[in-house]
Symmetry: C2
DNA sequence: TTCATACTTCGACCGTAGCCGAAGCATCTA
DNA sequence: TAGATGCTTCGGCTACGGTCGAAGTATGAA
């Protein structure tokens, strides 16, 4: 016993319902203030304050102070990946009644600011099949034809390259159990779709709602097989 | 709030130190009896019994009854993957003193019966670089030349194909943060190395100890770059 | 300066869950 | 049949951690 990193400490951190709600809320990728997160978690500000301190101390959240507000966000993408993998286990469990809201989430949702769900997986598959993305040892790699494609799509690759964050990352979908595209490129692709008004975020949840034109355009842009 | 699967329940399950020890012990891939796990977790049999029931009920463990013994194992590979991703987060945290035992674990260890750690990552990289393994959308795929290679290595591919379990899977290493080879092929490769007496398991931990000849042979079989 | 807002600290309360001793089944051995 | 051995159930103890009200510290607005 007592070998390797201590799982139980992190798991305990995630295990409290209020903290789990906070983490889930931050899966969208946006930064939220302490009071906003208190509402999200369904507890009073004092209680939330304690939880947030623990999460930051545990390395799961990062915090930025701005005036009298404190903005919290996930510490890094790995946290989101780990949370998704836990969701994968949780969705296995019995008594998982799938409501209509759940269906929307399975179809398309935001995961740390990139596209996840059936449509996320479809996009990833399309890019790979057409040779735009190559799934390398560590992470997916954008090929030359792929760079041309996403530039055409309207993504400013030069700006993304300038950032230190990794361009491509893969993330395992809890609902689909397949890979979708994360990383700064994944975020940029979703941002572009929002700019083009293909898709709109649901204010209440992580669900993404594609309108009629958006759906058609998506199918055209990311054909599969 | 209350969207997607309920993370907190699974996380709470993993969050108790005794249960975390149990899960970690089962990461080797072997099935253990209730009393063995009680010792591993450092609690009395009664207490362990309760924990084990919860883990089975939560879908994290599977159980097989054999005479008056009960053998417990991880429910499926996804559980191991999720645990590894939690370890990845945990190893980030401060106050992670890395002892000598930890070093051995980082070098080579068993992860659900396949090879993990630096040497696991190295093997995966070597196989990919030489075109034996192609990292596809879902999971790695063994190429034709790859099939020839592993057959030459002494793995009975026909037997593996006959099993329903997936041949190749990738698993993210908590210590290396890179991919290594899991799935039935991953297990077969490690088994073959043990047959050849390249490597021996440590009884006390998940560490794998390569002897001198084993190390040399490994370097020869899986060159990198 | 004065008031409002955002967040934190303190203290007390309470519930839950882990823990073990004792006793109870179930299964194998002699 | 009697006696081990492996696992489970029960009951009661304990402690830890989540919760909120009240009060305290920052920052910004009037």
């Amino acid at each position: 016993m007592k070998e390797g990193p201590d799982i139980s400490r992190v798991a305990t951190l995630i295990g409290d319902p209020a903290r789990a709600n906070i983490l889930t809320a931050l899966m969208t990728g946006v930064a939220l203030t302490a009071t906003e997160l208190a509402v999200e978690a369904g507890v009073t500000p004092q209680t939330a304050s304690g939880h947030l301190a623990k999460l930051v101390d545990g390395g799961l959240l990062q915090v930025r102070k701005q005036g009298r507000h404190k903005y919290f966000a996930l510490a890094h993408g790995d946290v989101a990946v780990a949370l998704e993998s836990l969701m994968g286990l949780a969705s296995d469990m019995r008594r998982t009644r799938t409501g209509p809201k759940d269906l929307a989430l399975r179809r398309a949702r935001v995961c740390y600011n990139h596209l996840a769900g059936q449509m996320g997986v479809k996009m990833f598959a399309s890019l790979t099949q057409r040779g735009f993305l190559r799934d390398d040892v560590d992470a997916p790699v954008l090929t030359d034809t792929g760079r041309a494609f996403v530039t055409e799509f309207g993504v400013d690759l030069a700006a993304l390259d300038a950032m230190r964050a990794p361009l491509c990352r893969s993330c395992l979908d809890w609902s689909e159990r397949r890979t979708h595209l994360a990383g700064s490129l994944g975020r940029a692709m979703l941002a572009r779709m929002e700019e083009r008004r293909w898709v709109q975020r649901d204010n209440q949840s992580r669900a993404l709602i594609f309108n009629a034109q958006g759906t058609t355009a998506f199918e055209g842009a990311f054909p599969v097989e």
